[in-house]
């Protein structure tokens, strides 16, 4: 196995884990924002 291939595999592993971690974080952010700032019928700023 060449050095470049070994490095590419390491980046691929870290990258796949990294993107799932980011998305899990965004999931929590969305859930948190939705809970903290829920839609209210009388809120004019809301859609």
């Amino acid at each position: 196995m060449t050095l470049v291939l070994k490095q590419a595999l390491e980046i691929a592993g870290l990258g796949i884990v990294g993107v799932f971690v980011f998305m899990a974080l965004f999931y929590l952010l969305i859930r948190g924002l939705d809970k903290l700032l829920p839609h209210k019928e009388d809120d004019k700023a809301d859609k």
Binding site: T2, V4, L5, Q7, A8, L9, E10, I11, A12, L14, G15, I16, G18, V19, F20, F22, M23, A24, L25, F26, Y27, L29, I30, R31, L33, D34, L36, L37, P38, H39, K40, D43, A45, D46, K47
Partner: protein, 383 residues
């Protein structure tokens, strides 16, 4: 005075120039007749003709009389707009202004498909490394699978500017070919029973405007703390989205979505063409890169569909995910969502997959930018 002095363009014309002019004509044909990403393919096609006429003043040349370099306008655009990453980042502002994140707030768990469907990027990077490309080139080729032109351009212009032409052509061409690439891959990975799954439990609730305003700000801060080097990509995308959602910059939001997007795309397309000169484009590398780009798109789809099937192992009957929705985790928005909705309707005219497909597709838009940021962070640590 000889023929070469009178008509230097004809005297200097080689078969490679003629091939590139034909490539330019094909891109223009695809843009006008097939309507494949015309905003970008048409300027690229015209630019390819412009730079492949010998002694074209559109690109830098050495003046044979004086031996001095004369800078061409496309090289000026390249140095000002692409080498500095200004053009792709302005496109991110425009894209941010076009994205509505409310489908993600309604079905946040579908965000994970935006991660799973980036699998092809990393697999392609590994394959490119196997084929002998160095790490920076391999990463730039892999990112074609982001199905996101500006991200591909940012990564390629930083890591492999010599490959920018073929990478951009592959990225934008395959984005336009999503309706042709994805369906056969999805059909080969799913059973008819799986394709008939209805996702009736998707939420349709109204989302708070305050939450939509807070989202781009919170994401920018969170992404900046974790990976500061990804901030240019994510920050500009979220800035565009904040302009859209804030409610007080409606004119700016519309300008970003229309005038800014159109003008920068036009400049981006014709400027990328400055890298499509015969000596840089007519190489075996170009064909390999175009083939690897297709591989990346296929395995993105593969990753998304298999991840949905994996999640279904843990979900109860009646709460399962239609695996086709997993394929929408790529960034080609809203094309991928539309393709999956149409595939669902073909199997069962009463199956409406558009809402979950859009949610996963928005997740893909975030996912592709995140992967771009991750690659920009990780590759310099290794290479």
């Amino acid at each position: 005075m000889g023929f070469e002095e009178l008509l230097p363009a004809i005297a200097g014309m080689t078969w490679q120039h003629l091939v590139m002019i034909a490539v330019g004509l094909i891109l223009i044909y695809l843009a006008i007749v097939k309507n494949y990403e015309p905003n970008l393919l048409l300027p690229m096609g015209f630019g390819a003709i412009l730079v492949n006429i010998p002694w074209s003043s559109a690109i830098s040349q050495i003046d044979p009389a004086t031996g001095e370099a004369v800078e061409g306008v496309l090289n000026v655009f390249f140095n000002a707009g692409i080498a500095t990453e200004i053009f792709p980042l302005l496109i991110f502002v425009a894209v941010g202004a076009m994205i509505d994140f409310s489908p993600l707030f309604r079905n946040p768990s579908l965000l994970l498909f935006g991660a799973a469907a980036q699998f092809g990027i990393f697999l392609t990077m590994v394959l490119a490394a196997v084929l002998g490309y160095d790490l920076r080139e391999a990463a730039s080729i892999g990112i074609i699978g982001a199905a996101d032109g500006p991200t591909s351009i940012v990564v390629a212009s930083r890591f492999a500017p010599d490959l920018l032409g073929p990478i951009s052509v592959a990225a934008y061409s395959y984005m336009a070919l999503v309706p042709i690439i994805q369906p056969p891959v999805i059909r080969s990975l799913t059973t008819r029973k799986e394709r008939l799954i209805r996702m009736t439990n998707v939420s349709n609730k109204v989302i708070s405007k305050k939450a939509l305003i807070a989202f781009p700000i919170v994401v920018t801060i969170a992404a900046g703390i974790i990976a500061p080097s990804s901030l240019a990509l994510i920050g500009f995308l979220m800035f565009g989205n904040l302009i859209r959602e804030c409610g007080v910059l409606n004119n700016l939001s519309k300008s970003a979505q229309n005038e800014l997007s159109n003008l920068v795309t036009l400049l981006l397309g014709i400027t990328i063409a400055s890298t499509m000169t015969a000596d840089r484009f007519i190489r075996v590398d170009t064909l390999v890169i175009i083939a690897l780009g297709l591989f990346a798109f296929v395995f993105d789809t593969f990753g998304g569909v298999l991840f949905a099937k994996f999640l279904n192992l843990f979900r109860k009957e009646g709460n399962k995910i239609n695996p086709m929705v997993g394929a929408c985790g790529i960034s080609a928005f809203p094309m991928s969502a539309r393709v999956i909705h149409q595939m669902g309707q073909k199997e069962d005219p009463y199956n409406y997959l558009l809402m979950p497909a859009i949610s996963a597709n928005v997740g893909g838009q975030i996912g592709s930018v995140i992967v771009g940021g991750i690659i920009l962070t990780l590759v310099p640590l290794f290479a």
